[in-house]
């Protein structure tokens, strides 16, 4: 912005006959200074248009060649937040324009109010963006190859929620009755699990036998031998078995238990929705496929506690807490915990319709984060500028013959609004 090289406010003019002490020496008069600044800001805005146009080129080009990515990925965005943010920005644009009017008419209180409202709206905008970004970070709905919504702290809940993966709504099935637990969860398979015989192991952090209501101490990691000492008598045998056999069955014809649809249904899903990333295919391919935990003769044990890296979904009671990041303790003796996010019928239909993401869906989010991120930085900068103006306004610096900075900042703010006016339909409102 211009005009901050103003002279110190010694009240007298410099022979120009204008009133404001902020009219610089080298201008003929207030009008001259204002017009110069205005031309400057318009040139800057033109530059901003060109600056953003590069990102629009990326957007348009990628959308033109890969429309399926856009029509899929936008479903991860919440129109509600986008619309609220649009309204917030439009309102702040209004207050910014109003601030200019107030400055022109020497309405100091109105000016201060308008500037404050503009700042508040800008902060509100960023808060909503923060909510959106946080949500995406937690669900790994990120750029490029970090688009990884199945591997997330939300775990199975997200699998089920996004349902990218197999139309599975019950990614986790803990089936104790059969002496096995299956869970769709995070694994680290680097190969395509469909290649014969790949077995992924899930890191079990903790397991043990629960004595009554008191959980046992964690005994060992997956590949460590269970410590002999410090445990109570009945434990050893089943636990050894258990420890060895934490494997993940990834083959398509997994013999594991399925609920509901049964194997046919699962196979059908697997075919309909081929896995889109081998790394967590086991988690996402089909119903009931996942970690197989064998713990020997479970009838001997009342409770076996397992803590795995696989962060399953929260218990129904906690469902709805999307960002929950907790581990689940498996308890033997309860035939089906089947913890999963309780989806509404509508959600289920929606997710079913979504299907798996097309290839390179992450590119949408690369573009999304680049565009909204750059826009967000502009908002941040705007907050700074308007705060500066607010401080100056409280000091009474702005007069009808010196309100250029307000006008220029407002123009900048309008261009930020303008860009969002295009970003909103382009990113959120894809049909």
């Amino acid at each position: 912005m211009t005009a901050d090289q103003a002279h110190p406010p010694h009240a007298d003019d410099h022979g120009h006959g204008h009133g404001s002490p902020f009219i610089a020496h080298h201008y003929d008069d207030a009008q001259h200074q204002f017009d110069s600044g205005k031309l400057g800001i318009w040139l800057f805005l033109a530059q901003e248009v060109l600056f953003f146009s590069a990102l629009f080129v990326a957007y348009v080009l990628y959308r033109y060649h890969h429309p399926e990515i856009y029509s899929y990925a936008h479903q991860y965005l919440d129109v509600k937040y986008g619309a609220i943010n649009t309204a917030v920005l439009i309102f702040s644009s209004l207050t910014a324009a109003w601030a200019v009017r107030c400055a022109q008419l020497s309405q100091r209180r109105g000016l201060i109010l308008c500037l404050s409202l503009t700042i508040a709206c800008a902060c509100g905008f960023l808060c909503i963006k923060y909510i959106e970004y946080t949500h995406k970070v937690h669900e790994h709905i990120l750029f490029g190859r970090y688009f990884d919504p199945c591997v997330s702290s939300g775990g199975a809940e997200l699998l089920t929620k996004n349902n990218n993966c197999a139309g599975t709504k019950s990614t986790i099935v803990w089936d104790y009755g059969a002496g096995s637990a299956t869970a769709g969860c995070i694994t680290d398979v680097d190969q395509d699990p469909r290649a014969a015989g790949v077995q992924a192991s899930c890191t079990v952090k903790e397991y043990g036998v629960t004595e009554g209501a008191e959980p046992a101490k964690p005994e060992a990691k997956t590949d460590a031998k269970p410590a002999a000492g410090g445990a109570e008598p009945a434990k050893p045998k089943p636990l050894e078995t258990f420890k060895r056999d934490i494997t993940e069955q990834c083959a398509e014809e997994s013999p594991l238990h399925h609920e509901g649809g049964g194997e046919a249904g699962a196979a059908h899903h697997a075919q309909k929705y081929p896995c889109w990333r081998p790394a967590y295919q086991p988690a996402v391919c089909k119903k009931g496929v996942g970690i197989l935990v064998e713990y020997g003769d479970h009838t001997e044990r009342e409770d076996i506690r397992i803590k795995a890296e696989c962060k399953p979904s929260p218990k129904p009671a906690d469902a709805g807490d999307l960002l929950a990041d907790r581990e689940q303790t498996l308890e033997l003796g309860k035939p089906q915990i089947a913890p999963r996010h309780q989806l509404t019928v509508h959600e289920e239909q929606q997710l079913e319709a979504m299907g798996p993401p097309p290839e390179h869906t992450g590119m949408f989010f690369t573009i999304y984060f680049a565009m909204t991120g750059l826009h967000g930085i502009h908002v941040l900068f705007g907050i700074g500028v308007f705060t500066w103006l607010l401080i100056r306004a409280t000091k009474g610096h702005f007069t009808p013959d010196y309100f250029g900075p307000i006008d220029y900042a407002a123009l900048y703010w309008h261009i930020v609004d303008l860009i969002w006016i295009f970003l909103f339909p382009l990113l959120y409102l894809i049909h």
Binding site: P9, A11, H18, G19, S20, P21, Q31, F34, D35, K38, L39, W42, L43, L45, A46, Q47, V49, L50, F52, S53, F56, V57, V60, L61, Y64, P67, S71, V79, A83, A87, I90, F91, S93, L94, A96, A97, W98, V100, R101, Q104, L105, G396, H397, T399, P400, D401, Y402, F403, D407, L411, H414, D417, L418, I421, F422, F424, P425, L429, I430, H431
Partner: protein, 133 residues
């Protein structure tokens, strides 16, 4: 600051050129803001109706263009501003459209020339494409 009185001679007509720049009337400001908010609702509602992907996109873009025009004309005062500022800004938008348009046109030329794909034979880099037969 004691300087506010300088422009007192302009005070007789309020919503016109006032002092050194045009003062937007409240009616215009509020009307523009209200219209923009309404159009936001319209564009959200329009997405819910299926006109076909292309028409939906065109509709959303048309609404966005209308909104942008409103912002530019009234919030940014371009309607009352110097013509040269319009020239600068519209020039930038034209340049941006050329950028987008030409890149889009051009990108089709390289669909077959993925240099990282050994299966796709590279096309001749310069000159006319060989005609078949």
């Amino acid at each position: 600051m004691s300087a506010a009185a300088d422009t007192a001679d302009h005070h007789d007509h309020h919503d016109d050129h006032h002092g050194i720049s045009h003062v937007a009337s409240l009616k215009v400001l509020l009307g523009t803001g209200g219209t923009l908010l309404m159009l936001t609702l319209v564009t959200v509602a329009a997405t819910k109706v299926d006109f076909g992907a292309n028409i939906n996109l065109a509709l959303a873009m048309a609404i966005a263009v209308v909104k942008a025009t409103l912002v530019i004309l009234f919030f940014m005062h371009l309607k009352y501003d110097r013509l040269f500022h319009t020239v600068v800004f519209v020039g930038a938008i034209l340049a941006a459209s050329l950028f987008v348009g030409f890149t889009l046109m051009d990108s089709n030329q390289y669909q077959q020339t993925n240099i990282w794909n050994p299966d796709a034979p590279p096309a001749a880099p310069f000159g006319p494409r060989p005609t078949s037969g």
